[in-house]
């Protein structure tokens, strides 16, 4: 499969700087329509910054990002979200005072067409719209096995389950590409296994490309079709997991010079 699929996100010579700090340096990377791509690298390599550029939190001073052939480099995050790139966050960004279900319904607001007035009257078309959105949300709840936490307030949930809500929130936007920032950080083995299964299920069912930043190499090697390695803002390697595992530059970046 690798190499045949057209790219859906194209990153060209992307450079990002905070003051004097060069965070990303001429990154070039394609995300193909059918793949799970892992972005790995030591702490501070620029993985999350790369994500932040793709979804519009940061704007690079050089280079461009094309999404389905359109330049999205300077667009605002909400525009990019509407265009179909959804992401999860390393530090989980949810409305912690709302229930899991309310968070997921809120995620669908970009897909809602009725105005605030109709919505607050909860009448006719607005009601039907709400119901159809709830049906979609329930599909996601079923997919990620969240039935038992549906009505729990997010703040009361354990960390692993909050991560799951975060992923569900991204899915509820019906994305055509999914960025996952450390989906398994801080999880125990069982939670990791569940999460890996969910990622594969999403990939299979929704047929969308998934890009993930992850530190757990076993997970990366198991579920990803391709890996890109960053080190100090530069891409130092790219390829299949088996190639990356034996790549000298990658080993050096992780273990230091000898």
């Amino acid at each position: 499969m690798v190499g045949i699929d057209p790219p859906i996100i194209e990153i060209r010579k992307l450079s990002l700087r905070f003051g004097g700090l060069q965070v990303l340096h001429e990154i070039g990377l394609d995300v193909r329509a059918r793949e799970i791509l892992a972005v790995i690298g030591p702490n501070g390599a620029g993985k999350t910054s790369l994500f932040n550029c793709i979804n519009g939190f940061y704007h690079p001073y050089e280079g461009e990002i094309l999404y389905k052939g359109k330049d999205i480099t300077q667009l605002k995050p909400h525009r990019i979200a509407e265009m179909g790139i959804a992401r999860t966050f390393q530090n989980i960004e949810l409305f912690s005072g709302l229930t899991a279900l309310e968070n997921l319904m809120a995620a669908r607001h970009i897909l809602m067409r009725r105005g605030a007035l109709m919505g607050s009257l909860f009448f006719g078309p607005a009601r039907n719209e709400e119901i159809s959105h709830r049906e979609e949300v329930e599909e996601v709840i079923d997919l990620l096995e969240m039935e038992s936490i549906r009505k729990k307030v997010v703040a009361s949930l354990p960390y692993g389950q909050r991560k799951r809500v975060d992923l569900a929130r991204a899915l509820c936007m019906e994305p055509s590409a999914l960025l996952l920032d450390e989906p398994m950080a801080g999880m125990n083995v069982e939670e990791k296994e569940d999460m890996a299964r969910f990622i594969l299920d999403i990939y299979e069912l929704k047929k969308i490309p998934i890009v993930l930043v992850e530190h757990d190499m076993d997970v990366v090697m198991d579920i990803c079709s391709r890996v890109a390695v960053l080190d100090f803002g530069r891409k130092i390697a790219e390829g299949r997991p088996s190639e990356i595992r034996s790549d000298k530059r990658v080993i050096r970046a992780y273990l230091g010079e000898d």
């Binding site: 709830r134 049906e135 329930e138 599909e139 709840i141 079923d142 997919l143 096995e145 039935e147 038992s148 549906r150 009505k151 299964r197 299920d201 299979e204 069912l205």
Partner: protein, 629 residues
Amino acid sequence: MALETLPQALRENFHILGSKSIAMRVKDRGIWREYTWEDYFLKVKWLCLGLKSLGLEKGDKVSILGENKPEWFWAELAAQSAGGAAVGIFTDCLPSEVKYYVEHSDSTFVVAHDQEQVDKLLEIKGQLPRLKKVIYWDAKGLWSYNDPIMLQLDEVLEIGKAYEKANQGFFDKMIDSGKGHDVAVICYTSGTTGLPKGAMLTQNWLMLSVSEWARLDGWMGKDFEYLSFIPPAWITEQGIGIAGNIIAPMVVNFPEEPETVHENIREIGPAVLFFGARLWENLNRMVQAKMMDSTFLRRLFYNMALPVGLRYCDISGKRPGFLKTFLYLLAYYAVFRQLKDRLGLSNVKVVYSAGAAVSPDIIRYFKAMGIDIRLFYGSTEQGVMTMPRRGDMRPETSGPPVPWVEIKLSDEGEILVKSKYPYAGYYKNKEATEAKMVDGWYCTGDFGHKDEDGHLIVMDRMDDLKEIAGGKKFSPQYTEIRLRFSPYIKDALVVGGAQRGFVSALINIDLENVGRFAEARHIAYTTFTDLSQREEVIDLIREEIRKVNKILPDWTRIRRFVNLHKEFDADEDELTRTRKLRRTFVEDKYGGLIEALYGDGGAYRVEATVTYRDGRKGTMETAIAVNEI
């Protein structure tokens, strides 16, 4: 024509109730979805015909492997409609266990729930030559599987529909040919020794014994709501859930997921309910924990109401006085009614528990709330054997025998049973079937006794019994479990022996609760050892033992006991890591002390070696009082 089989009864319900009333309800995607009798019947019909055209023959077995869902029920009824039998398999079985059940029962089809279960079958299908198809109903995660042995349930329904068009009236003929003595279900017994045995249950068992059961406990013809939660591979769910659903009839409700039961039960408000012992304990603990986090005022009311409730339900036999009734009504309407509502137990009429012992305290707790838990005694082979009756429930017994069962005790104390509706023997195991029958009585292998009014008390497996002088048997485990129900006793070792004339106990006090007891009475103590030997504490434990003695047969009552100077400890090999007592080891270790229990009485000096966590050993010398009851 009299209805002999469940499929015939289902068809009758379809004709009479049709699409007007609901047969089952399942929560899916957040909504309760309903199936009427018409839906239920048609699903069974198409599934049965689908299986038939895939090669199911009369007398074939269909294994079912899944959580409680309507599809489970359809599959069983479909198998029975074709003159076959259903074999329930527990969902947590390993692939090797699944293989044993499917292979031993000669199943030609397996109906499985989801990816998890299908994966098991794909792993073992090579070793199952008789297996024709694996039919699954939840396709999640199975999208990219393409093993030819797999087939989705919906596809089988379509095959069945097509088959029906070509063979009008065939299904009815098949149902008509069903007989009461047909084997309907094979339930495998967990088998503590050797391989599991498959107990064959006939249509007669499902139809007749369950009808009598439903009438006895008053859920016949009431259209009650029932929550299906215990595994259908277990005989109890076969009785209440699958047969009760059709015979009573009851509406069976399936929770969304096992984890959402507490939420779902409140939405349903079932009238009939079966929870295992563990679940009742969990409910009790949940309430206590929530009350602790509650507001001051709520806690105050709860703490005022609970003793009133407990005292009210403690007076058995006599009519409670005016004041007690008045206070109870006050407590009920102020607290218990709301509590019941919160737990989803507002509408309960009949609640069951069986299997493991439920602590009398838990039973009293729910009784105070107005919920009578019927802790009955049954087995896979004989079904329900004893059942507590309304108005005469005793927390420590399993009630008197049901009308269709006769019970007697052998000289050794084994429970022997003769039932009007017994099982049809073990599948492919005549030897084991015959070994269990003595002079027309079925030997349960359980040890028990009857109280003055004929209520049965089941104590232990015969194999686990110990002997005392004179050849009488007693069950140390039963007594130990009952002792541990006391909040002041953490662990206990009950000893006897062929040379000893009576039973004694080594008691581990519960430091936390006894400590609190001591504090409340201003009893000063320094260490665990010191506390355990205080006179007040010994009196306290003596009272607790007396309570337990009341329900024990005379010869198994505890006559002497000691409070141990230290707790049983897994670091010292006295307990396993799962906190089970290592009996032989402990009996050896405390050999001298046990001798003293049967000596002249008085105190015994122990010099115990203690192993610390870092591996060092130390010695301790203490005097332990030997106490008479």
